[in-house]
Every structure is written in C-alpha cells, then in structure tokens.
C-alpha cells in the first residue's frame, strides 16, 4: 500500500487533548512540518505557553520549556542568547500573547529577537472556560461578556499583526487562517517563511493563525470554520503585514 500521508517526525505519538473541531491540532501539525522542512540540522527549542497549548511540550518532539503565562517571548529571548544558532519558537494563544504578555511580545519584536512566534488567535480564553480575550470580537459572547462584547463596556479588539508591523525589529509578520484547505496550505507556507527568516537571522517573526474554539464559542466545528471565514477575517484581515 502506498503511504500518502505521514505525521511529522517533530510530533510525538501522544494524542492531542484538544477538543473536537479545535484547530490547535492543525496549527501544531503545520508548525512541526515547517520545522521539519528546515532539515533538522540546526536543533530546535520550543516554548509552551499557559492556555490550551500548555501541554505543547507533550506534542512537539524537540526540546521545550514551559513558560509562565505571557512570558514566552522573554523565555525565548533568554534561550536564544544561550543558543543563538538554534531555532527558537514560542507557541502562544491570544490571552497569553495579547493580554498578560503584551509587553513581552512588543519588546521582543522591538528588540528584533531572532525568534519565531506562532500566535493562535481564537478570540477567547479556552483553557479557563470561555472568558473574553483581548481579541474577542465586538458582539461576540463570552462568559465575561455575556451580552456580547461592546466597545463602550469592554473596549475594542486588538490587532496584533498591524501593531507589530510598525516596529523596526519585526522582520516577518503575517496573519493566516485555517478555515479551509486552501487557507491551511497558505498558513503552512507562512509558518515556513517565518522560520526561514529566523534561519537567515533577519529578526523577529510572527504568524497569527485565526483559529476556532467550538467548545467555548458554543458552535459546531463546521459553524466555527464559517465564523472564522465570515466574521473573524473582517476584523482580522489575512495578509502579510511586514516582510523585510
């Protein structure tokens, strides 16, 4: 029988704990595949966040440090100083990266840290049970914005890519989605490019992946994909925001 698909060697055999329809699994896979395509000569050190991806150290088949909530860019910066020739990446959610860890994110980008961040934006706090995230859309319901987020009451969603693209230290900043096959292929390319930029020593790279959370959104996996495609991309347009 011909083998047509194979799990990346950079993923362990541990089954993902993610909910049905959650796109973390796809994000893990494309990240692992992109890392694998680098040739595996450099050595890789990952940083896991606090949030749904906290167990990322069980899934990525490389050295990993688990970081305090929001501090992954700082941890990655420390690692990169000790291991400047290794590929260093952080995998973070929106609460981790855009709320509690905003300072670490912005300053790692401003310093031009030669690291790559995979930023999962699913517009909600998943692990803790569906609270409002800094990226929650206006009108979107969460357990801490039960009538739907309003600008007057809870403020406005934050567009990370647009913001980081203004910084001189950022080398590659892109937003991608996973809502259909075509977008998954594009997402993988973007992630690969981000790692290529790191290998080339160009400085800070970040790929924001628009993601689903069917469990906390209260939607079917299929409807979640539609929500990403129809609603999230309106607030978070896909594209490359910085490329040097």
């Amino acid at each position: 029988m011909q083998k047509v698909f194979q799990k990346s060697a950079l993923l362990t055999d541990t089954p993902f704990h993610y909910c049905p329809g959650c796109t973390h699994g796809i994000s893990h896979r494309i990240t692992a595949e992109a890392l694998e395509e680098l040739g595996g000569k450099q050595g890789i050190i990952g940083v896991a966040p606090v949030g749904c991806a906290v167990f990322a150290y069980n899934y990525f088949n490389c050295d990993i440090q688990q970081a305090a909530h929001g501090r992954a860019p700082a941890v990655a910066s420390g690692i990169k100083r000790v291991c400047p020739d290794k590929i260093v990446f952080a995998y973070q959610g929106d609460g981790d990266l855009a709320s509690i860890g905003m300072a670490e994110t912005v300053h790692a980008a401003a310093r031009g840290e030669n690291i790559t961040i995979i930023f999962i934006n699913n517009a909600i706090y998943g692990m803790t049970g569906g609270q409002m995230a800094p990226t929650t859309l206006i009108g979107q319901k969460s357990t801490t914005s039960q009538g739907g987020r309003t600008a007057a009451l809870q403020g406005n969603p934050i567009r990370i890519c647009e913001m980081l693209a203004t910084l001189d230290g950022a080398s590659y900043i892109a937003r991608v989605s996973l809502h259909d096959l075509k977008s998954v292929v594009a997402a993988k390319k973007a992630v690969k490019k981000a790692f290529d930029y790191q290998v080339a020593g160009k400085g800070f790279s970040l790929v924001e992946i628009l993601s689903t959370c069917p469990t906390n959104w209260g939607m079917t996996p299929e409807n979640s994909m539609e929500y990403v495609k129809n609603e999230m991309t309106k607030v978070y347009p896909l594209g490359v925001f910085k490329e040097v």
Partner: protein, 353 residues
C-alpha cells in the same frame, strides 16, 4: 594573594558573578542596584556573554528562566519592588528546578517606599516570596568581600541543588566601597555539562523538557516531597559567624550590614563591662537554628537581642530556634534609617533584664 582593589558593592558583585561563570544577565533599572546591570552591560560582551535590559522585572526573570533552562549561567538583580515583580518567575524557576542567581539590594518599603537601605525583604526571601512551597538558598553578606566570595560560588551552589540562589544585600552594601580581592576567572569549559538543559542538541526520545506543571496530585506531591528532601540536604550549606559569643551573657544577633553595627556595639559593650557577643547568620535559608539552640542551652547566656532594619522578621526565626529557652528581644529601625553602634548600645542596655 591577588591585589586589593577598591570597589563599589554593586560592581564587585557583578564582577564576582562574571568570574564565577555568569554569562547571561537580564535586568531592569531600579535604585539602589543600577550599577549591577550597568556593569554587566559593558562587561558581559567582553567575555562572550549577553546582557538584555528587559522591558520589566517580570520579563527579566523570565529571560533568566529561559537562559538557565538552556544551560547558561544566568543572573538578574533588582531591589525590593522589582524583586516583588520577579516572584512569579522565581517560583517557576524553583518549580522547574533551574539554577540561577538573584541579587536583591533591598530598599525600604512597603510600596514604592524609599531608596534607602532596609532588611524588610527577609520574610519574602526566606519564606518563599512567590507562590507554592519552595525555598531558595539565601545569603546575607555583611561586607563587599563576603558578597564577592558568595556570588563567585553562587552558580556552583545553584547548579549543585538546581535551585535559585538569592543574595540578599541592601542599599548600603550596594553603594558602599571597600577594598576587595577578586577571585580568579572561572574556566567556562570546566563547568559540568547540564544533562537536563534544553539546548536544542537532542530530539525524539532524548529531548528535554523544562516544566513545572504537574496536573496529577500524586505526581506533584512527589515533586514537593523531592523538594523537601532537597531543602533538607541543603542544610549542609548553613553558614554562620560568631563573635565573642563563647562567654557572652547577652547575645546580639543580626545579619548583613546590621551585623557590622552589632559588632561595633559588642565592642563598646565589652569595654563598658557588659559580656556581649554576636551571632551572625551568613545563610538566612537554611537558617543556623542549631547554633542558636546551642547558645540558648548555655547557662551563661541570659538573653538574645535581635537587631534588624525592619519591624521584626528574622527575630521570628531566632525565637523558633531558641524555643523559649531564653528571652529574645528585638530592636529595629526602618524607613531607611540605620541604627548607629552607640544607639544600639543604649537600646541593649535598656533591654538587659
């Protein structure tokens, strides 16, 4: 013997760290410790190391986490409010079993407090500080030479036990100048390879994980018990100085800069016929409880008087160690004020029972 040079405490500690193998420093400005990051920013690139002025103390301690986890000898320094901000990271470092060195040149508090010296962070340093059940190896040096010698060896100790080591100084120790003899430069190649470090050289089944998350209660309890056993072993590091204590009736006790004032007070008291002595803990954790218990059991000893630049923190550990055998009194100054030897003598004479 090497040449004596005159150095400011902060700079001497920084140079001692470099000579002890420190190659990665992550800091943030706060008075009265600024000379440490300033010195490191210039010095570390000279020896092939790296310095980052982080965006916050929170970030700085997490950079230490990353660098230590990757196997580097990493360090940060700050002063009280900044050390409060680092507590979460210190707890993670303890939980993830990472070695590092943290210097706290204590200033007065609470809140923004003042920039003048204090010992108000004793509890924070020896009783945990951050969340969860952990300890650090905590030193309270009383002179710049002692701070140099302790800092030089601190990375070795941190790596031996895989724990954060804290050097608890104060504004005086940081700002003061004294002649010091600096130790030889450690040969980096002689530092044992860390078999646990996430340095990107391993993958697959040999890959390494730095983590403090243990979801299963039994597994986490196992870790906590492992830490408890480690802290028990760490008692071997206990260090303490006694001064004229053998025949003393009144035992003054103090750490750090206050111990030097106490030593002057002991001399003045002895001249006036009072048999005074001094116990000075050099390690604040582990606390030299046994020494206190030994002196408390002596017939000649009538009373202990603890001196601190706070409202009474170490005195609680002294009382636990003395365990009711003899009275334990306290005199402290705070807010950045420091008792003089003469003032200390007056207070001691008032408190003698």
């Amino acid at each position: 013997m090497s040449e004596r040079i005159l150095m400011k405490g902060n700079e001497a500690v920084a140079e001692a760290a470099v000579r002890g193998g420190c190659r990665y420093f992550f800091g943030y400005p706060i008075t009265p410790q600024n000379e440490i990051p300033e010195y490191m920013s210039k010095r570390l690139p000279e020896v092939g190391g790296a310095f980052i002025q982080a965006e916050s103390e929170v970030s700085a301690i997490n950079m230490v986490y990353g660098a230590a986890g990757a196997g580097g000898r990493a360090m940060t320094s700050s002063s009280s409010p900044g050390i409060s901000l680092k507590q979460e990271g210190i707890s993670y470092i303890a939980g993830a079993e990472l070695p590092c060195v943290i210097v706290n040149m204590v200033r007065s508090g609470p809140g923004l407090g003042g920039i003048l010296p204090s010992q108000g962070d004793y509890f924070q340093s020896v009783k945990g500080g951050g969340h969860g059940d952990y300890r650090m190896l905590v030193y309270g040096p009383a002179s710049i030479q002692e701070a140099v010698d302790i800092t030089y060896k601190a990375f070795e100790k941190a790596e031996k036990y895989r724990i954060p080591v804290m050097i608890l100084g104060d504004g005086v120790l940081g700002q003061m100048m004294e002649p010091v003899v600096l130790p030889e430069m450690t040969d980096i190649a002689s530092i044992p390879v860390k078999e646990w470090a996430t340095d990107g050289t391993k993958s697959g089944k040999d890959r390494r994980i730095i983590n403090s998350l243990y979801i299963e209660a039994d597994v986490l309890e196992g870790m906590n018990n492992k830490f408890a056993a480690l802290y028990e072993r760490m008692k071997a590091e206990t260090a303490c100085e006694t001064y004229l204590a053998d025949d003393a009736e009144i035992i003054l006790t103090a750490f750090g800069i206050t111990a030097r004032i106490a030593k002057s007070a002991v001399d003045i008291l002895r001249e006036s016929g009072v048999k005074a002595g001094l116990i000075r803990p050099i390690t604040l954790y582990p606390f030299p409880s046994d020494i206190y218990a030994q002196y408390a059991a002596k017939k000649t000893v009538k009373q202990f008087i603890t001196l601190e630049l706070n409202l009474g923190q170490m005195v609680e550990d002294v009382r636990l160690a003395v365990n009711g055998a003899k009275p334990v009194d306290f005199y402290g100054r705070s807010g950045g004020n420091i008792m003089s030897p003469e003032e200390t003598v007056q207070q001691v004479l008032k408190k003698i029972k």
